[in-house]
């Protein structure tokens, strides 16, 4: 698991590293030139143009060496240092981006954005999954009924719409045509204000409704399919013949047997919700991880990219691990050992 994490980071560094170096080197050159133009005395102290150019080049080289940019990004030394720092959770300073308070420490930026994403997407995932499980269990008990058909067709139709497009439509309808919700999801009052939380919730409503609307159908469909499979098992038939109530069978016995795959999917979608929402956040202008990630990639801010990737991968791996443990709890057959 740790290996997977390191490989992910290595790939990220490999992909962004060379571009990042070019940008940094250009930054150094620009900085040196700017300093010289600000201070005309330096330029006057040289007799020939060649001598002056030599001095400038020398300055640039010195600074590049000081930053360790003279070695290519793939040199073992630099990668080693980067990896070591990341393991100590030291992501360094962001090159361009800053947090709302103005700190450029990557850790500050990440931990400022993370709660917002958790607030929006984790809430949405929990709502989606609870509606989905209930609806799926309900429609599995009445296969072929109107409710079952409506759920299934809604699931199929909603899964082929991109969430962000529905988001655009919702903004169009509920923010501009009927002005019920704000169009931008970022609250416009400072976070120290006591009304901030209320305002945040109000701004969150539209994205939340959109995500839930698109998401719960496929959940219900998934749960329904698991349940339909289980409802055909012999032990359910036996329980039915004994005379246990249908409702009790569905919600206790059958649902418990359908739990392992459901829990796995729930864990994965919870962790996936932390990063997979880049486009949705861009549409609603929600100031969370997804938007941070997109901004970082567009300006090639390597420390932020690495930090965010690291965080996302860690969450993903932890949730796989937890899902595995829970799977063993719900389904004793997969337990091995003693």
């Amino acid at each position: 698991m740790f290996g997977v994490l390191m490989i992910t980071l290595l790939i990220t560094i490999a992909l962004v590293g060379s571009n990042m170096d070019t940008i940094l080197k250009q930054g150094v050159v620009f900085q040196v030139r700017a300093e010289i133009t600000e201070n005309p005395a330096i330029a006057q102290s040289f007799s020939s143009v060649n001598e002056f150019e030599g001095f400038v080049q020398n300055q640039i080289d010195q600074r590049i060496q000081a930053l360790g940019l003279d070695e290519p990004w793939y040199s073992p030394q630099r990668i080693g240092v980067t990896m070591y720092k990341i393991m100590l959770l030291d992501f360094g300073n962001a090159t361009f981006l800053t947090s709302d308070e103005g700190s450029s420490d990557v850790k500050d930026i990440l931990f400022e954005k993370l709660p917002r994403t958790v607030l929006l997407f984790t809430t949405a995932t929990i709502i989606i999954s609870s509606i989905g499980i209930f609806l799926g269990a309900f429609s599995s008990s009445k296969v072929g009924s109107t409710i079952d058909r409506v759920t299934s067709s809604f699931a199929i139709i909603s899964s082929s719409f991109p969430v962000w497009w529905i988001g655009m439509l919702m903004i169009f309808l509920f923010a501009f045509t009927w002005q019920i919700f704000p169009a931008r999801a970022t609250p416009d009052i400072p976070s120290s204000d006591p009304a901030y939380l209320l305002s945040l919730l109000y701004h969150m409503a539209l994205p939340l409704i959109t995500i839930v609307m698109i998401g719960f159908g496929s959940w219900a469909y998934l749960v329904r399919n698991f349940m339909v499979g289980i409802m055909q098992e012999d032990f359910i038939m036996a329980k039915k013949t004994i005379g246990i109530k249908e409702k009790k069978i569905i919600y206790t016995h059958a649902l418990k047997n359908a739990a392992p795959p459901i829990v796995t999917i729930l864990a994965l979608s919870l962790s996936g919700s932390l990063g997979g929402a880049i486009i949705t956040e861009a549409v609603f202008d929600w100031p969370g991880m997804g938007r941070l990630y997109f901004e970082a990639i567009t300006v090639m801010d390597l420390p932020v990219i690495i930090g965010a990737t690291y965080l996302l991968t860690v969450f993903f791996l932890i949730s796989i691990f937890i899902a595995d443990l829970l799977y063993g709890y719900f389904d004793p057959r997969v337990r091995t050992g003693q």
């Binding site: 997977v4 199929i156 655009m168 169009f172 399919n225 990063g275 880049i278 990630y293 991968t313």
Partner: protein
Amino acid sequence: MSNITSQEIKQEFIKSKMGIVGITILLILVIISIITIISIPVETFQEWNNPGNWISNPKVAIPIWVNIFMIEKIPEHKIMENPNIEKISIDGINLTSHHFGLNFDYDDFPNDFIYEFSSEYSGSPLLQISVIRPDGIKLDLLTTSLPYSDGKTIHSERIFSTDNSIKKNLFLQSEKFEFIFERLSAENIVFSKTNTNEPLKGNYIFSIDMYGVNSKTEIHESKLIVGGKAFGIMGTDELRRDLAIGLLWGTPLALFIGLAVSIASVVSGLLYGVYAGYKGKKTDETMMRFNDVIYALPALPFLIILSVTISNSIFVMVGFLMIFGWVGIAKVARSMSLQIKTRGYVDAANMMGQKDSKIILKHIVPQLLPYAFASIAISVPAAITTEAGLSFLGLGDPSFPTWGQILHDANTFGAAARGMWWWIMPPGIMIAITGLAFVFIGNALDAIVNPKLKR
């Protein structure tokens, strides 16, 4: 795993309503793409991002068919290219006149009018533009002479309704109207009733007269554009592009992206998984660990990094999407091949000394084909929406106008805030319909392959 022959699948598939609907939609989309490729010249689509190509279209025009539902008709954009040509020659003065008839039947003023021409002459001919309105009033719009030239020359020009001399000319004729001209633009006067400033319906005739003295004058390309607020079947966007062309060209592109990605990833995932499962032991272990690594990579962030750093060409993008597409299929294919390889006939083939590659391709893979087809169909929508999403973030291939890019432009120009539904709705609906077709087909196939779901 069940052993169903392809014959049975065909029969079952025809019975399923969903499958039929899916196939029908897909066929319609394929027909649309073929028609598009044949009928719309490739140049228009390569010129998608070239503003000069769209200059004669109106800005943010609503689709024409909206007028059917409107009580107050919105003026349509009209490009008139075939005038009635008259040529008179008296005493060495050659008069060439072009007449454009316009039936104006709308409840709003047009946006502007533009006369575009290219003429061949020598000397300095006189150009006169006038309009005869439905109420019989003749308004002189412009009298100007074209630049002098000794020899034969070709002169092209666009005369806009915002031209100052048109305004001055109209001002001189203001006694024909009962309202004050101040701050009114030329088109609001020309198309107005005389007593109030409201549009006057009826037939207008625009005449362009060119007088040449002792020389031959000819107007080659003569085009009168009356700029309306409605244009085409799908309207236009901020950059005057005809959205219908963008939407039509998006169809073959989306089908290509979806099918290429899903076929490639399903085939490679299938072979990978089957090989790992069949070989077993160490090979299986290492191959599955590699699979896990790819599985743990956050897909969308990596796609964004890849498209920013390496290339955003549409073909490279297909490859990137494939990298993240094959993982799940490989897992399922492996577990299926683990089951199949314990069967007697595989053992028998093995004992007969057949090569591994032959056993995999001839005895195991055919068993998985129904499943493979179902997963190809199911994974197409994901590929299309992911590509659309990347394009929406502005990371798409700018030389190919996909639906995602139209939506990206819509978002950057604030289409939602400005109520331009015709810019937002159609691309999304097209994405959804295409996805739906494949989901229908996939689900129908899936129900046949996994009979448990049916009941």
